[in-house]
């Protein structure tokens, strides 16, 4: 088993009610596994999970990335202007002032 810390932002932070949580995952777990595990533990965020991208050490990583013990993972919701275009996830810029 490995332990990673997971930072939560925006809607995810609000729904789970924590800024950072710890998660135990099997050895060799990927970002995708982390996401599924989080959805099982907090069903309220399940709808958000497909839109999230993941960063480790301030660098975006793919869902296939294998996690290491002690990793600090950030789960990043789409930015209004479409940050996720970076990883070809989805990019629906909202109509926004400013």
């Amino acid at each position: 088993m490995i332990t990673v810390s997971v930072r939560l932002f925006a809607g995810l932070h609000q729904l789970i009610g924590e800024r950072e949580i710890e998660m135990q995952l099997p050895d060799g777990a990927t970002v995708a596994v982390l996401r599924d595990t989080l959805g099982a533990r907090h069903p309220i965020v399940e709808a958000l999970l497909p839109t999230l991208v993941c960063a480790i050490d301030e660098e975006y990583v793919e869902s296939s990335q294998v996690l290491a013990n002690g990793d600090r993972v950030a789960l990043i919701p789409p930015v209004s202007g479409g940050a996720h275009a970076l990883l070809d996830v989805r990019a629906n810029p909202s109509a926004e002032g400013g």
Binding site: G11, A47, E58, G82, A83, A91, N92, A95
Partner: protein, 146 residues
């Protein structure tokens, strides 16, 4: 100068920081909280941020702008936390020898910042609230006002 802060933004030190003696023009952009979006009356905004990555992405955008336009300086400040109508959430300053490059580079920088910097805003209305996140699937749920 690239920073994220919970305090009100002050443009003066930002403009000083981007100006060089070769600069003939500075374009400064203010993103401001307005009282309406998509036909709904906004009470206030709440911004959340991934601070370390936000500053890193601001610097990457600055590098991109420097590679694309002949500028003499660039800086970005973003405020987060609760912001009332009329308060400034974003300042982007770009200096150049000439005004065309200053305007175009500043506009491009603002567009890119809104695309790649991990900062999110929640609109709070009288009867509900919503995280504005590129229309993520959960938005219908939060729209109901949890």
């Amino acid at each position: 100068m690239f920073a994220v802060t919970y305090e009100p933004l002050d443009p003066a030190p930002l403009v000083d920081a981007v100006r060089r003696d070769e600069s003939g023009a500075v374009a400064l952009f203010y993103g401001v909280v307005r009282n309406e979006n998509m036909g709904r009356s906004v009470q206030y905004l709440e911004y959340d941020v991934y601070p370390e990555m936000a500053v890193k992405k601001m610097r990457e955008v600055a590098d991109e702008v420097r590679a694309k336009y002949p500028i003499t300086g660039i800086g970005v400040l973003h405020r987060v936390g609760r912001l009332e109508i009329g308060e400034t959430s974003l300042l982007v300053a770009v200096s150049s020898a000439h005004r065309v490059a200053a305007f175009e580079a500043c506009h491009f920088a603002v567009d890119r910042i809104k695309q790649v910097v991990p900062i999110w805003k929640k609109e709070v209305w009288e009867d509900g609230e919503e995280w504005i996140e590129g229309h993520m699937p959960g938005s219908e749920r939060t729209e109901a006002g949890e």
